[in-house]
């Protein structure tokens, strides 16, 4: 471990000693999410979203395994089996609504997590691999979510599958063949449904594996923190348990509270009504949209309207959509500033919030119909998206003068505490130098 002051697992009970010398699983947990993992003491509530993403993944896996007991992966029965779950299976409606809304909530949490990482420079050295594994998880989530949405075999399922698999046909020469291979036919049909079901069941466990790798990689340097200053000693950290287990538990409760409001009072607010119509291969819905969490990328896909540099517009859209995610892999090397936290980057701060706004606008435009003025707006918004990562971010550090960084985490915490010392719940100023050497 890279923290010599971390608490050591030291089982007192003979049974635990017996276990520890044979299968040191309790030790692993102790060092991973127990008292043996030192965490910067100053991380704020934005750092809760990592744990929340784990919770959301587990909710999806558990409800998904249970739903699969009742689902029937055949084009003639899939829709009926979903309605069977909703009407006949004990608590089936609860499980399905939890799974359907759970997907949306998983993405909400992950988007917050990504933007937190962007704000506090979590992708920068030495955490590049942590970040890249995160991008892998994000890609796997998108694939899993898309295939899951196809399973009920409603109108949006079918036409979503049709549109998304058609993207691959934009690839020159081999595109059509790839698409045919992907759907197992000339249009989405039973072969598509059954393979999507198989993969939809498999990929979450792949995600789980990558999550474990990611936590492993994270534990080498430990978490970033809002100052972006490296941890220097025990005065900068607190053990994960009980301090951050307690804090994360508050976050989990709030998350479940909001999640419950959606499940019980507005379960279809995030879905599309057309998916309650059984799939009809002969009738396209007036306005095909994917699930909301793909909208920013769907907007980029549709933003390319002209053939440019001998590449047709359709292929541009497909390239750009994939590039918009894949460029995140290169982010650690695109950003040349060595200051991690945006709080100390006066210029980048503006561009960061502009990016947040830009992605929200792209999200809105991705759900809007493909007509003016939405198309033109999405062209400008997409242009900013690429400019932000590929042009502005690499150049910015040449112009930006960062604010002075605190010398250490402890110093910044105590400076803040000194300011707040008059508030009733803050500890008396005398208690401030909290950590004994």
């Amino acid at each position: 471990m890279s923290f010599p002051w971390a608490n050591q697992y030291n089982p007192q009970h003979p049974v635990m000693q017996w276990v520890d010398s044979r299968l040191p699983l309790p030790r692993l947990i102790y060092n991973a999410v127990g008292a043996g993992y030192p965490v910067p003491r100053n991380i704020n509530y934005w750092y809760n979203f990592g744990v929340l993403a784990g919770v959301a993944l587990m909710v999806q896996i558990i409800t998904g395994v249970v739903l699969a007991m009742h689902f029937s992966a055949h084009t003639s029965t899939a829709f009926n089996s979903v309605e069977h779950i909703m009407r006949n299976v004990n608590s089936g409606w609860l499980l399905r609504y939890a799974h359907a809304n759970g997907a949306s909530f998983f993405f909400i949490v992950v988007y917050f997590h990504i933007f937190r990482g962007l704000y506090y420079g979590s992708y920068k050295s030495p955490r590049e691999v942590v970040w890249m594994l995160g991008v892998v998880i994000f890609l796997l989530m998108m694939a899993t979510g898309f295939m899951g949405y196809v399973l009920p075999w409603g109108q949006m399922s079918f036409w979503g599958a049709q549109v998304i698999t058609s993207l691959f046909s934009a690839i020159p020469l081999v595109g059509e063949a790839i698409r045919t291979w992907l759907v197992g036919g000339f249009a989405p049909d039973n072969a598509t449904l059954t393979r999507f079901f198989s993969l939809h069941y498999l990929l979450p466990f792949v995600i789980l594996g990558v999550v474990i790798l990611k936590i492993w990689a994270l534990h080498i340097p430990g978490s970033t923190n809002p100052t972006g200053v490296d941890v220097q000693g025990p005065q900068d950290t607190l053990p994960f348990h009980p301090y951050f287990t307690a804090k994360d538990f508050v976050g989990i409760c709030v998350y479940l509270l909001i999640f419950s409001v959606f499940i019980f009072f507005m379960p279809n607010a995030l879905g599309h009504p057309d998916n309650y119509i059984p799939a009809n291969p002969l009738s396209t819905p007036a306005h095909i949209v994917p699930e909301w969490y793909y909208w920013p990328f769907y907007a980029i896909l549709r933003a390319f309207t002209v053939n440019f540099l001998w590449i047709p517009a359709k292929l541009w859209g497909v390239i750009a959509m994939f590039a918009s995610i894949l460029l995140l892999f290169f982010l650690p090397w695109l950003d040349s500033s060595r200051v991690k936290s945006t709080s100390y980057r006066p210029l980048y701060r503006w561009f960061f919030w502009l990016l947040v706004l830009d992605v929200l606008v792209l999200g809105y435009l991705g759900g809007a119909p493909a007509e003016e003025p939405y198309v033109r707006f999405s062209q400008f918004a997409s242009a900013y998206y690429f400019a932000h990562f590929l042009i502005i971010l690499p150049l910015l550090s040449f112009f930006e003068k960062p604010l002075p960084l605190p010398n250490s985490i402890a110093e910044s915490v105590l400076a803040k505490a000194g300011k707040k010392a008059h508030t009733p719940d803050a500890a008396p100023a005398g208690a401030a130098p909290t950590v004994a050497e």
């Binding site: 309605e83 508050v250 309207t305 002209v306 400008f380």
Partner: protein, 271 residues
Amino acid sequence: MVRFFGFAAGLVFVIALLVGALMPREAAVPDPIKAIHLPPRHVKLQHDGPLGMGVFGTFDRAQLQRGFQVYKEVCSACHGLERIAFRNLSALGFSEAEVKALAKAREVPSIDPATGEPSTRPALPSDHFPSPFPNEVAARAANNNALPPDLSLIIKARPKGQDYVYSLLTGYGKPVPKGLEVPEGLHFNPYFHSVNIAMAQPLNDGQVEYADGTPATVDQMAKDVVTFLRWTSEPELEKRRQMGVATVIFLSILTLLAFLTYRKVWAGIEH
């Protein structure tokens, strides 16, 4: 290196997008239908609860039964209800014997036990509502090539489903705007997406006779059948809200306890 290639790729993307954005657009042809088409009118129903928030509301059982009567006597001539079994009707307040009688009055497809030929038999409570047409081709053939949709999920399958079905049912008989051609066999209804709908006006005042003496106005019948169809779409609605209120109360207490625990654990620690 990464930055150099990234910069080049970024420039290409930005230029391609800006070329597209600055391209002159052909003036969009205004769609005359869009100007005539109306968004659905809001309908207030008991089960939407106080302020229409959908937190505490429960179905009005009498209204559900009236709505079922409208479906049975009017809609069921063309529209199926295939996801509802007769046994589900006990949720409307019908007794077991009444459910049996309702089922027995309908014939469902069956096989003659002696000859094996397709035939029909009286329905059992476990049977689902028989569809008025054996398949889509027959339905279209009987309806001027229009397909009457199954109504089991209609409220969930349309944006603002309750308002939409209510508006559609009460949206007939309005004057046809100048210049709009209503093709032969279609009917003007501004709430339908193409404003010309194949379904003729289904409800007329006094069309059904309610056992509880409620006057059968078009508005009343539309509200009743919308309530009934909300139930067919979401039969779990009342239980869901009940569990929701309990869950939210429980989680609020748990959140408070979690926060107090957090405060205790972190007492005296600056962060």
